[in-house]
Amino acid sequence: MPVQEKALETFKFLVVDDSEFARRALIKVLSHIGGTLAGEAVSGQDAVQKYKNLRPDLVFMDITMPGMEGIDALDAIMHEDRAARVVMVSSLGHNDLVKDALKKGAKHFITKPVQNVPMAEIVRFVLTH
């Protein structure tokens, strides 16, 4: 089996968003392409803690959340593990924000809603680069 297909069958993901609807939508899309839910977090602090405990293959991180925001949680996770694969998922998608996230180590940036995003391609790209 090609490496890329194998990766898509086995990845474990952590979903970080303060919105239950947003978490459910992401979990549905990612499970549909073969991912396994490692855990859910509702804030930046929660995400950092759960990353340390769960060590998922991929993190899908919202930006605007109460308390620690997604960009700061990205920073903290990258500080903890330089090999972490974090994908930012935000309703905001202006250029400065995208540049900042990529500069801080995010592997990709997705703009909500996620229903029509080519998620399999994005996951494959992030897992293999």
Partner: protein, 156 residues
């Protein structure tokens, strides 16, 4: 109100509603109101502060709110539960955030407040912002939603 503030938000509302519901959105005639007070049972509101200030309100009937939240969750929701209300807040957030991202790329800087939602009959909001409001009805399969946009350039 300048149309360069309004258009990205209306375009975003049509695009996000189309993507989230999977059905076409029909835009009705725009009207001008003196206040941003909603007239229906469910109103989700997001404020803006910075170089551009004001608010955007998405309002709809209870039936339309339930139908849309059910559609977006792909499950029948029978009341305005926390999940249904969260869905409508997230919908409003996606609409406004995508619209203001376009404004931000055009050089305006500002911050959004977290979305809030109000439900009940005879809702009435008061504010001293004193900005005229443009109301744009949008017809979707779940019913009609109205986008109320009240924005202005802040003179520092």
């Amino acid at each position: 109100m300048r149309l360069d503030y309004l258009n990205p938000i209306v375009d975003s509302a049509i695009a996000v509603l189309t993507e989230c519901t999977g059905t076409a959105v029909e835009r009705g005639d725009m009207s001008l109101n003196q206040t941003a007070s909603p007239t229906r049972d469910v109103a989700a509101i997001i404020g803006m502060a910075g170089e551009v200030e004001g608010r955007v309100i998405l309002e709809m009937s209870r039936d339309t709110a339930l139908s849309m939240a059910s559609q977006m969750n792909q499950q029948q929701l029978s009341d305005l539960s926390p999940l249904a209300l969260d869905t409508l807040m997230e919908l409003t957030n996606m609409i406004v955030a995508r619209g203001v991202s376009a404004l931000n790329d055009n050089g305006f800087t500002f911050r959004l407040t977290p979305p809030m939602i109000f439900t009940g009959a005879n809702l009435c909001f008061f504010s001293n912002l004193n900005i005229e409001t443009l109301a744009i009805p949008l017809q979707i399969s779940a019913g009609e939603v109205t986008l109320n946009v009240a924005l202005r350039m802040n003179e520092f």
